[in-house]
C-alpha cells in the first residue's frame, strides 16, 4: 500500500508535468499523460498489468510496470531535448540581434 501511494504521487507529478508541457510540445504531453494514466491503472489494478503482460509476452506484471516507467523516463528525456532546442532558438535570436546591431553601428 505504501509503495502504491508513493508511485501514485510520482505519477500525479508526471501528469502535472505533462499538462504543463502540453502547450509547447503537444505530442510529448499526450504521450506522457497516456503513460502516466497507464501507470496509475497498473499500480492500482496489478492484475490488469499481469494480464496485459501475458498478452504481449512480457511475463510478469511487475516487469510491465518497470517497462512503463522506462518509457515515461525516455519521453521526459525527449522533452528535455526539445526544451534545449527551444533554448537554443532563443540564444540564436539574441546572438543575431547583437551581431546585426554591432555591424550596423560600425558600418
Amino acid at each position: 500500500m505504501i509503495a502504491q501511494l508513493l508511485l501514485t504521487m510520482m505519477l500525479f507529478g508526471i501528469l502535472l508535468y505533462a499538462t504543463m508541457t502540453y502547450r509547447q510540445a503537444p505530442i510529448i504531453g499526450f504521450l506522457a499523460v497516456a503513460s502516466a494514466f497507464g501507470g496509475l491503472v497498473f499500480v492500482w489494478f496489478p492484475s490488469y498489468a499481469t494480464r496485459l503482460a501475458e498478452l504481449v509476452g512480457i511475463g510478469r506484471g511487475v516487469d510491465l510496470i518497470l517497462y512503463t516507467w522506462v518509457v515515461i523516463s525516455l519521453i521526459m528525456l525527449l522533452n528535455l531535448h526539445l526544451k534545449l532546442r527551444a533554448q537554443m532558438e532563443l540564444i540564436t535570436l539574441l546572438a543575431r540581434k547583437i551581431a546585426i546591431a554591432d555591424t550596423t553601428r560600425t558600418s
Binding site: 502547450r23 532546442r85 540564444i91 540564436t92 546585426i100
Partner: protein, 229 residues
C-alpha cells in the same frame, strides 16, 4: 527582360572557418557589382578579416550557431538594408558568380519569388558518385515531403525577391536548414523556378560537404522540429 539594378541586390554568405578561400569568393562575387554580406559564424580563423578586406560587409556571430542561423542573420540584415533581391551563395568556392545573373533573370522574366539553382539542370564538375546518389535520394525525400517539383534539393545558390526572402524564417540552425527553406517555400505558395547552375567540387568543398550520417541527422532534426512549437 532587364536585370534588377545591382545596388538592389545583396549576395549573402554564411562562413565558418573559410579563411583559405573566402577572399577569392568575395572578390569573385564583388565583380558582379552587387552588395556582399558575409556572416562569420564564430570562426576560429581570420575568415572575418579576410572577407572584410575583400570588400564584404561582415556580420560576426559571437558564437558558432550553424549555417542555417547564419543565413537567417544575413537575410534579416539584407532586408533591413532595403534589399529588393537576395542571393544566397556558398562561401566554400563551389559556386560561380557568373550564375547569379541567370538566377536574377529567371526571377524577373518568369515572375517568380524564388529561383533555385540546380546542378542537375546545369552541371556538376567532378561530383563523386556517392554524392550524386545521396543528393538524388535527398531530392526524392524533398519531393515527397514538400510537393515541390525540383531536381536539386541541397543547392546553396538561390535568388529570391524581397517578398520571397520575407517568407523565410529559418529555425533549423544547422544542416537541416536547406530542407527547411524548401518546406517554407512550399508553405508560402509563392512562385518558384529552377535555374541551371554549375557546381565545382574540389577536395576543399568535399571535406566540408555532407555525409550519409549527416543526412540521417538532418532527418532527425526535421522530425524533432515538428514535435515542439
Amino acid at each position: 527582360m532587364a536585370l534588377p539594378a545591382t545596388s538592389n541586390v545583396w549576395v549573402v554568405m554564411a562562413a565558418y572557418n573559410e579563411a583559405k578561400v573566402i577572399a577569392d569568393v568575395v572578390a569573385d562575387v564583388k565583380s558582379t557589382g552587387h552588395g556582399v554580406v558575409v556572416v562569420d559564424d564564430g570562426s576560429r580563423d581570420n575568415t572575418a578579416e579576410r572577407a572584410a578586406a575583400a570588400g564584404a560587409i561582415v556580420i560576426r556571430h559571437p558564437i558558432n550557431l550553424g549555417q542555417g542561423a547564419a543565413l537567417q542573420t544575413a537575410l534579416d540584415f539584407a532586408l533591413a538594408q532595403g534589399a529588393g533581391f537576395v542571393v544566397t551563395f556558398d562561401a566554400d568556392g563551389q559556386h560561380r558568380a557568373a550564375d547569379i545573373a541567370a538566377l536574377l533573370a529567371a526571377l524577373t522574366s518568369r515572375n517568380a519569388d524564388f529561383a533555385l539553382g540546380s546542378r542537375f539542370l546545369g552541371s556538376a564538375v567532378d561530383m563523386p558518385l556517392q554524392r550524386r546518389l545521396l543528393l538524388t535520394a535527398a531530392v526524392w525525400f524533398t519531393r515527397l515531403t514538400t510537393g515541390l517539383r525540383i531536381t536539386d534539393s541541397h543547392n546553396g545558390l538561390r535568388a529570391m525577391t524581397r517578398r520571397g526572402a520575407s517568407a523565410i524564417h529559418l529555425r533549423q540552425n544547422r544542416m537541416a536548414h536547406a530542407s527547411e527553406i524548401l518546406h517554407q517555400i512550399a508553405a508560402s505558395d509563392l512562385p518558384y523556378v529552377e535555374t541551371p547552375v554549375t557546381i565545382h567540387y574540389s577536395a576543399y568543398s568535399m571535406a566540408k560537404g555532407q555525409t550519409l550520417f549527416d543526412a540521417l541527422l538532418i532527418i532527425l532534426d526535421l522530425f524533432a522540429r515538428r514535435l515542439h512549437r
